[in-house]
């Protein structure tokens, strides 16, 4: 383990033998890992009560294998479906999915939508860096309109999916969006997401200077963070703005925070009812 980690207060939550991380210099993934570790620390969650699930891509590596918990690194797009099985088996544990926009909202979009609809008690931290980073910077369903990527070398003609808005509409108990330039707000939202009973999504707009910024006039990580800050609009303000003014902006804040029946609780309630009905309780 490199010396630098010895001064890091959250090192107790990391798998030392797996360090250093494979993330590029300037990547927003480190900020997300740090925010998650701080949220776990502030809530005093025992890492033995955590199962962290991820898919494929750079953001899937943020917690896997680096976070010291049970970690399940799955196939591309399927992390939430794997996590669904884990949560049914371990309803008393915190099941957290940390993965990217391509993984969770493109190839895995259907699982994301249906997990929100079921309102299963899983926390998803979706790291949105607008790009397929690991494969070399190809366009994603989250890439801003007009952006340059390796597969939109002239410009992106598609409009990005509004992930938080979509998942709030699908029925999640908690949805919030922040950027890596809003670390304290991010930690608070992750804490709320971990505590809410139901499906929770924290979307983190994150910088990928290597694959996205470099081709879009933001080579330095700091330039990307300044871009986030300049274009962030709090949700309360965004509600009063016409849609055309919101083009290219990042709406930040809490989209929903509500109580709805949770899937695994309902499932266990159903089993109770069935066993009661058939006189199987006292067998």
């Amino acid at each position: 383990m490199p010396e630098i980690y010895s001064k890091y207060p959250m090192i107790k939550y990391l798998r030392k033998e797996a360090l250093p991380t494979a993330l590029c210099p300037g990547c927003g993934g480190g900020t997300v890992l740090n925010a998650f570790a701080n949220a776990v620390d502030q809530l005093k969650i025992d890492p033995r009560d955590l199962v962290v699930v991820s898919g494929i891509g750079c953001s899937a590596w943020i917690a896997s294998p680096y976070f010291l918990a049970d970690t399940l690194h799955t196939t591309h797009g399927r992390a939430i479906a794997f996590a669904t099985g884990v949560k049914v088996g371990l309803p008393d544990k915190k099941v957290v999915v940390i993965s990217g926009d391509g993984d969770l909202a493109s190839i895995g979009g259907n699982h994301l939508l249906h997990a929100a609809r079921r309102n299963i008690d899983i926390t998803v931290i979706l790291v949105n860096n607008f790009i397929y980073g690991m494969t070399g910077g190809q366009v994603a369903p989250t890439t801003p309109f007009g952006a340059i990527t390796t597969t939109t070398p002239y410009r992106n003609i598609e409009h990005p999916l509004q992930i938080s808005e979509t998942i709030a509409a699908a029925g999640a108990s908690y949805v919030a969006r922040w950027t890596t330039a809003h670390v304290y707000q991010l930690i608070e939202s992750i804490k709320k997401a971990l505590q809410v009973k139901g499906f929770s999504l924290v979307e983190v707009i994150s910088q990928c200077p290597v694959q996205f910024g470099r081709r879009n006039k933001m080579k330095e990580p700091a330039e990307m963070l300044r871009w986030f800050l300049k274009n962030s609009v709090p949700i309360s303000k965004a509600k009063k703005m016409p849609p055309e003014e919101l083009e290219g902006k990042f709406v930040i804040g809490e989209f929903v925070n509500r109580q709805r029946p949770e899937f695994v609780s309902e499932l266990n309630k159903l089993i109770d009812e069935v066993q009661e009905h058939f006189g199987l309780k006292e067998v």
Partner: protein, 396 residues
């Protein structure tokens, strides 16, 4: 709470719910009841003809036993959820048919690589593609073997009747648990929808097994090692504070990814193969009829083994020295026994409801001087006794 299926209260529940005796039931129902007796308490699936009655039976019965039925958004999510549940300690199953089996292939490979016990029922239907959705077939023989990418072993079990399906699905679970591996159950649309006599036994007659768990911290730290020399590592389940790391990427014995060292990949993939190869006694199974003095051998499997037996019995009455060999575990193929039998006969016939799949396995173990001939039928209608008998007479 995790249920293994062998807890005293579970035995009591099974006994109360399912009285031993003779039942008139569909093959699909026999699979579902067999799975319940085997200890399966988690099912995740997606409806598809001709497998849906398995899901329906599980949805109705599992809650009575405290088990979980999940209908997922697609087949990919179904196998994903069952792998997740298997790592928490459940015995898990899904059922599908060709198109769904195709969708599950990637995560089937994940289960092989992460050594996750599960049972995947493929109720074979006529393909390719949507094909004849309601009609049975045996066209997925090699999809079961090679459907997922990369070098990998697979165990596949195929029953020949509803009664057989009840016992064979229990055997499939026992193999999956004993060897920490996915097992494919190759059923078909004809047996699935045939209603026939199925005898439900007393719970005591059913022997079930559960995966090896780590006996100490040392074992728990090596979820992909081989501490007992049998190739099968104990499985450190999630939620026990082991900090288990599971990945489909190439990994070391401790579970951590190492995709750069050639020796690590070689060691892992060869050990997974060796685990299956050296434990043949756990899964190898076949049936033989009249093979002692046979000059002609019929080799068949699954639904086609039934008319094949009918044809062999009739041919025997006509004085033809013909025998029948039925692999029940079709992958890995019982090659050594096939080789022995192949040496004694002058002709081998392989009836199956496809254009020639198991025959290619047979061919690997039979000498060139033996006449080898497929008896193939597609279109969704099973081979008849007469059709197979005609071929036997033709080589007699």
């Amino acid at each position: 709470m995790i249920i293994r299926g062998d807890e005293p209260e579970q035995i009591k529940l099974l006994r109360k719910l399912y009285k031993p005796g003779n039942y008139f039931m569909q093959g699909n129902e026999a699979v579902a009841y067999g799975a319940l007796f085997a200890g399966c308490r988690f099912y995740a699936g997606y409806p598809i003809t001709p497998s849906s009655e398995i899901a329906e039976t599980m949805a109705r019965e599992l809650p009575k036993l405290g088990g979980y039925y999940l209908q997922m958004e697609d087949e990919i999510g179904s196998i994903a959820a069952m792998i997740g549940a298997s790592w928490t300690g459940f015995k898990v199953m899904t059922a599908t048919a060709g198109p769904g089996f195709s969708l599950m292939q990637e995560n089937l490979g994940y289960a092989v690589m992460t050594e996750t016990p599960l049972v995947l029922v493929d109720v074979q239907r006529s393909g390719p593609s949507t094909g004849q959705a309601t009609k049975g077939a045996q066209g997925d023989f090699f999809q079961a073997r090679w459907g997922t990418h990369g070098d990998h072993p697979i165990v596949a079990v195929s029953p020949t009747s509803g009664q057989d399906a009840f016992w064979e699905i229990i055997r499939a679970f026992n193999i999956a648990e004993r060897l920490r591996t996915p097992v494919v159950f190759l059923f078909d649309g004809i047996l699935a929808h045939t209603r026939e006599l199925v005898k439900i036994p007393d719970v005591d007659e059913v022997k079930i097994t559960y995966r090896k768990l780590p006996q100490n911290e040392e074992e728990a730290k090596l979820p992909f090692g081989d501490p007992h020399g049998d190739g099968v590592p104990p499985m450190p389940l999630f939620g026990h504070g082991y900090f288990t790391h599971v990945t489909g990427s190439t990994h070391k014995e401790n579970g951590l990814r190492d995709v750069y060292t050639p020796e690590v990949h070689d060691r892992l993939v060869r050990r997974i193969h060796r685990k299956i190869e050296q434990n043949r006694h756990v899964y190898e199974k076949y049936e033989e009829h009249f093979t002692d003095d046979a000059e002609i051998l019929v080799v068949s499997w699954g639904v086609t083994a039934r008319p094949a037996l009918g044809a062999v019995l009739k041919a025997r009455r006509e004085g033809i020295k013909v025998g029948l060999f039925v692999p029940k575990t079709v992958h890995p193929f019982p090659g050594e026994r096939m080789r022995e039998l192949g040496k004694r006969v002058r002709a081998v016939l392989v009836p199956e409801m496809n254009l020639g799949q198991m025959i290619l396995e047979v061919q690997r173990f039979v000498n060139d001087d033996v006449l080898l001939k497929g008896v193939n039928k597609i279109g969704g209608v099973p081979l008849t006794v007469e059709e197979i008998l005609r071929e036997i007479r033709g080589v007699a």
